[in-house]
């Protein structure tokens, strides 16, 4: 095993009510990379993220972070290693933005866990870094979708974990905000030396921002590797079970589109 592999998933199986969701999943992610998880709805992307974070307990296999089996770690040790940005968080009680961010640091607050003055300052610094310090005292539920997502990213940063898991962070955002968020993820991953695992719906977004891709189909990994090696029509076709075209533009970017003949339809 290479020493810079921070996350390794080996032969992981998971079933829900006798239905096999994850079937022998194996892949690894290197430190500092953005790894994209691609696959159709229901292929097990979100389940896999929950297994890595041990919200769900796997049936068999092993998930290691820095070579350490996560099933042997306590809840707070896992929180120290992994921060999660959920898809879209609905909260029953609308906390203020600064409180939401402070919650990310809970493992550092000790037994009863009350944040102190220093924690407030450093949480505010993160808001400034992400240019949302003007939202600090606003209520979370009053924010727009894009702002909410940035707050959740700020919270994940404040958790100060090495790995960040993001579950379709851009799926409900407009075109511009999708790219604002993705640029932000790219920037913080690089600047803070994080490792990012992100599920994405749009292969174009994945192709643009991810260093490494893991493609899932029906609970199995069908392709895994660096983007340059596996981002081609055949691998995407077997991931999504459909015909796919990839056009390369002059600037070197790829554009993925379904291979339907529009005039015939």
């Amino acid at each position: 095993m290479l020493s810079n592999e921070i996350l390794t998933v080996e032969n992981v199986n998971f079933s829900y009510h006798d239905r096999r969701i994850l079937n022998g999943i194996s892949f690894s992610v290197k430190k500092g990379e953005i790894c994209g998880l691609l696959g159709s709805n229901g292929c097990g992307k979100t389940t896999l993220l929950k297994c890595i974070n041990r919200i769900l307990n796997i049936e068999s296999g092993i998930i290691k972070i820095n070579g350490c089996d996560i099933s042997k770690l306590s809840r707070s040790e896992i929180a120290g290693l992994i921060a999660v940005v959920p898809q879209e968080l609905h909260v029953a009680f609308s906390f203020s933005v600064i409180q939401m961010v402070l919650m990310g640091g809970t493992v550092r607050y000790g037994f009863s866990g009350i944040p102190g003055r220093k924690d407030f300052t450093s949480a505010y610094d993160i808001l400034e870094e992400l240019n949302i310090d003007h939202l600090a005292s606003r209520r979370y539920n009053e924010l727009s979708g894009g702002e909410k997502q940035i707050v959740l990213i700020a919270r994940a940063l404040f958790q100060r974990s090495e790995i960040m898991l993001l579950d379709e962070p851009t799926s409900h955002l407009d075109f511009k905000r999708q790219h604002i968020i993705m640029e932000m993820i790219k920037k913080i991953t690089k600047e803070r030396g994080l490792t990012t695992l992100i599920t994405l719906h749009d292969p174009n977004t994945a192709g643009r921002y991810c260093h490494r891709l893991t493609m899932l189909n029906r609970g199995c990994v069908c392709h895994h590797g660096s983007r340059d090696n596996i981002f081609h029509a055949e691998s995407l076709e077997s991931t999504y079970d459909m015909k796919i075209n990839i056009e390369r533009t002059e600037s070197g970017a790829s554009f993925v589109s379904p291979a339907f003949d529009l005039n015939k339809r």
Partner: protein, 336 residues
């Protein structure tokens, strides 16, 4: 500071309510007499002949009753806040999650089969209250929409314990045991002694202190299980602990005052809309507002001519329409 003005207002209201409750009643005590009695007590002198009766009324009847109303109101409200937080639903409360009917069943069971000693009634009420709310949680936590199933599970378990309680009333001795059970079910503060106040104070202040110390974790629980888990919180353990202390609060209140409906839900809900969801402010505010609310209701009960009516009648008359209004307002928000 503007941020703390709700606290200032509720403290002023509370002081006014305490003075009003101490002076008003069948035996009227004027403000001047009240001041004189307090001054006498502070200087350690005994009351003269003309102050003997009002001093007796104040120290042995009215003050314990006022203090108990404050304690019970705070306990019920904080209990409501905790349950709403861990269940992530601003419209649940211990009285709707089986706690109340479980406690009544437990108390009746103790009165009939064990002893009418306060401790055995309280212990049994507490154990059955915990049992009931645990069953509600086990049934309600499994559905697809846990908020709805939780409330329905509360209705199911409450109905079951209500029936079991009725059965116990049916077999109870009508001269010895039945009146004690009925007193318990009706709820009220008319037989409060200093011993009740002291016992309630110890349990309630200890439980509220523990809950307040862990207020930040309660914030996390209010976000959701997966959220709390990924931020390193041991959700199962913490939820069990919070449920235990919140039920203890509800049971401590009902062991002296019987069953008082609605205070928990209404005060917790209103406090949340006034000071927001952060439990650092919510818990103390709900405790103050709850004390004020129950003290005022109890004073109304005392002042209504023609004998005291059970306090739950008043709290229900205020609480039920208020909840109806809040539900309508909430469903309008959902539609918008």
């Amino acid at each position: 500071m503007k941020k703390n003005s709700p606290f200032l207002i509720v403290i002023l209201l509370l002081i006014a309510a305490i003075i009003f409750a101490l002076t008003a009643g069948q035996y009227h005590i004027t403000l001047e007499t009240l001041r004189n009695i307090i001054l006498l007590k502070l200087t350690g002198k005994t009351a003269g002949a003309e102050l003997a009766t009002p001093a007796m009324v104040l120290w042995s009847v009215r003050l314990p009753r006022v203090l108990m109303a404050l304690l019970a109101g705070s306990a019920l409200s904080v209990s409501g806040v905790v349950f709403q937080g861990i269940m992530r639903n601003p419209l649940v409360a211990p009285s709707f999650l089986g706690v109340t009917h479980g406690a009544v069943f437990g108390a009746s069971l103790a009165i009939i089969f064990f002893s009418t000693a306060a401790f055995s009634i309280e212990a049994s009420a507490f154990i059955w209250a915990i049992t009931a709310v645990t069953i509600v949680y086990l049934i309600g936590g499994r559905g697809i929409n846990t908020l709805t199933t939780l409330v329905i599970a509360g209705v199911i378990v409450s109905t079951f314990f209500q029936a079991a309680g009725s059965l116990l009333k049916y077999i109870a001795d009508p001269y010895e045991q039945l009146p004690t059970i009925v007193f318990w079910m009706m709820g009220g503060l008319n037989n409060i002694l200093w011993v009740h106040v002291i016992r309630a104070f110890i349990i309630i202040s200890a439980a509220i202190t523990v809950i307040y110390l862990f207020r930040w974790k309660l914030n996390l629980m209010a976000l959701g299980d997966e959220e709390a888990l990924s931020m390193g919180v041991n959700v199962k353990l913490l939820r069990a602990a919070f449920m235990l202390f919140a039920t203890l609060l509800a049971a401590a209140s009902s062991s002296s005052c019987g069953i008082i409906m609605w205070v928990d839900l209404i005060v917790a809900h209103i406090s949340r809309t006034i000071v927001g969801p952060d439990h650092k402010r919510l818990i103390p505010f709900a405790a103050l507002l709850g004390g004020f609310f129950l003290l005022m209701t109890d004073t109304i009960v005392r002042l209504i001519p023609g004998g005291e009516i059970p306090i739950s009648i008043i709290t229900s008359f205020i609480g039920a329409p208020l909840l109806g209004y809040l539900l309508m307002k909430q469903s309008r928000q959902w539609r918008e």
